[in-house]
Point group: C2
Chain length 379, copies 2
């Protein structure tokens, strides 16, 4: 086999989408992953929520989320056609709701900020809220609608992306990559989520998230159709209804690297979910999972060429935003590979933006047989 043009390390949504886009451009592409789709995407809820996720002090990230969400409809249509299968892309929109007066005040403070950025979110009267979703608890105090905040099913997305990438000519390889020096390709893209730290020295850290999957009795459709992002007695929770009866309830955000499911987290998620939508108490609890998001110091992804490592690009550190950012990441990284010119959109997300933090992660060590390369890891 000829040396590939592009080797992608990591077959999550970001890595597979890059592989698909590069293969579409006629590049020879391989993707290395012993367990495709087993990282953060396996646990992710799949909200495409640039508005409801827009947070104080993260304007560049909000811009990228908005840009990527705008690309999602076209990306979804093209991927559905290419893969010959859907992945639960639903466009009913998101309701932001507050259970108590305090919860509503917290939600309102955030959506006022979002409105100030010109993002599409509209407060609703309680009666309007209940007209849209009668399943909401009567005591929910109020909320708003973000009609452009949609959803996909991340597990089905991985399957579709894998099919599309392979149909476009990319090759998945099951070997595990422990050192980038073992990868032979013109360009190597590190899309390894939390694994990017050990491979590159980038400041990517695991951020634990615990998520539940419920199922409506008899596998009927859930009794609500919007994604619901709720604040309930100080807990922030989201409820994502799927066609097949599934409701994803997430998620904790914990600065821990284990993947144990804890009683306290399950209790908090269930309590908030049932307080917001009482009928969920009658649903089956079919899965409780913990996963690790690839967090970064500023919560934004790390996209672009690694300084001091010719031919190595990062597409990592997507934290809580990997699914919504998949289209824009794939487009921008592919364009960078093809043209060698970084799009201006990439500027805020360059790998060298963390002064004083280890970047590159390779140092030269004099050894008996001459210079050898050694990886540094970021714990």
């Amino acid at each position: 086999m000829l040396t590939p043009d592009v080797a992608v390390v990591g077959a999550g949504p970001v890595g597979l989408a890059i592989a698909w886009r590069c293969a579409q451009r006629g590049l020879r592409v391989v993707v290395h992953d012993p367990a495709p789709g087993s990282g953060a995407s396996h646990v992710a809820a799949g909200m495409l929520a640039p508005v409801a996720e827009a947070y104080f002090g993260e304007p560049e990230l909000t811009g990228l989320l908005t840009e990527s969400a705008a690309r999602w409809p076209g990306f979804a249509a093209e991927l559905t056609a290419a893969a010959g299968r859907g992945f639960g892309h639903r466009t009913e929109g998101t309701l932001v709701v507050g259970l108590t007066g305090d919860d509503l005040a917290e939600a309102r403070r955030l959506w006022a900020y979002q409105q100030g950025l010109g993002l599409p979110i509209t407060p609703l009267r309680p009666s309007e809220l209940r007209d849209r979703e009668p399943a909401l608890a009567p005591r929910v105090r109020g909320g708003a609608v973000a009609p452009g905040d949609h959803q996909v099913d991340p597990r089905r997305l991985v399957t579709a992306l894998r099919t599309a990438a392979e149909r476009a000519g990319a090759t998945l390889l099951p070997g595990r990559v422990d050192r980038l020096t073992d990868v032979a390709a013109r360009v190597t893209v590190v899309a390894a989520g939390c694994g990017a730290a050990a491979l590159t020295g980038l400041p990517v850290r695991p951020v634990k998230g615990q998520v539940l999957r419920l199922r409506a009795p008899g596998r009927g459709a859930p009794g609500f159709r919007h994604v619901i992002r709720g604040y309930a007695d100080g807990e922030s929770v989201y409820l994502v209804p799927r066609d097949g009866g599934e409701v994803v309830v997430g998620a904790t955000v914990e600065e821990r690297a284990d993947t144990e499911v804890t009683a306290g987290a399950v209790l908090r998620l269930l309590r908030a979910a049932v307080d917001l939508v009482p009928e969920l108490a009658e649903y089956d609890l079919v899965e409780a999972t913990a996963g690790l998001r690839p967090g970064t110091p500023d919560n934004a992804p790390i996209l672009g060429a690694l300084p001091g490592r010719p031919g190595v690009l990062a597409a990592a550190g997507h934290h809580r935003h990997g699914i919504v950012l998949t289209p824009v990441t794939a487009d921008l990284i592919t364009e960078l590979i093809v043209t060698a010119e970084p799009d201006p959109l990439l500027a805020p997300f360059r790998p060298d933006r963390f002064p004083g933090l280890p970047v590159g992660g390779v140092r030269v060590v004099a050894g008996a047989g001459g210079a050898e390369m050694e990886e540094e890891t970021c714990d």
Copy 2:
């Protein structure tokens, strides 16, 4: 192979203990079960709690629970020696606690009844309660101790009983028994839990129970040693700590025959558990299970000869009490088989005690080839 003296249908604790006792008496014994230990015992917590389980209006059942609990120490010692392995028999006793004033009033009403029967349960001052178990939440209002209410691990008990029965000469057969007429033995013992209804027509119905298993972080011992039977904001819950770090949290009592785990039940169990013992929030949630108890119209087991069916005995319908009742059931049924004389202890639990309910379950149907037997089921 010679026709067995005794065929036991059902390899749960009751069936296996009967097989063991019969084999010890020199009888040829077979046990039929395609999945030993997969019924109610798989989900059971294993409390040996004749005192804390003594309930208004069930004096005969309370007497049998007390009798069987008194046999447990000897039974446990003999079984441990026979099987060459333990099964988590622990004798720290049980604390009954009430979270709120209302909860304490409910608990107190019951323990006053238990004291009135002369059962060993002693109220404790809150400071005494906390001296015994500092892990209890500070807001627990009060409680009592039942020092004779012990515990075993039912899954390990099944393993030990199986070993002991086989060592004593009993043979386990994996075939499923759908009709008692397919069983060839001098005496057939139906110890099939919920399956007894279809086999015999006895009024045994499934009563769903949902149970959680938590694990202390790092698999250390749980931070409390007593079994805790708690009343918490109107929920009744028990917490059973095991040596290996496991804590069983149970259990719902639902008149349903499905085995789905529901969000509302898990929420109620976790909320009560964490309210009573806050450190449980930090424990891993390792299992959520639902099982079916074999319930009867008066909550008491059905023990003895089936009228109209020579050679068929029932040892079924143990409901929530199968583990504690295992020794006395095995002793009395074995004695009945060997001597053909029912012990007076069996009198309140005879299969024919439900007037107007179908008993026996066999009717003769005239067919082309003569009379044939047909099973009736109890739905």
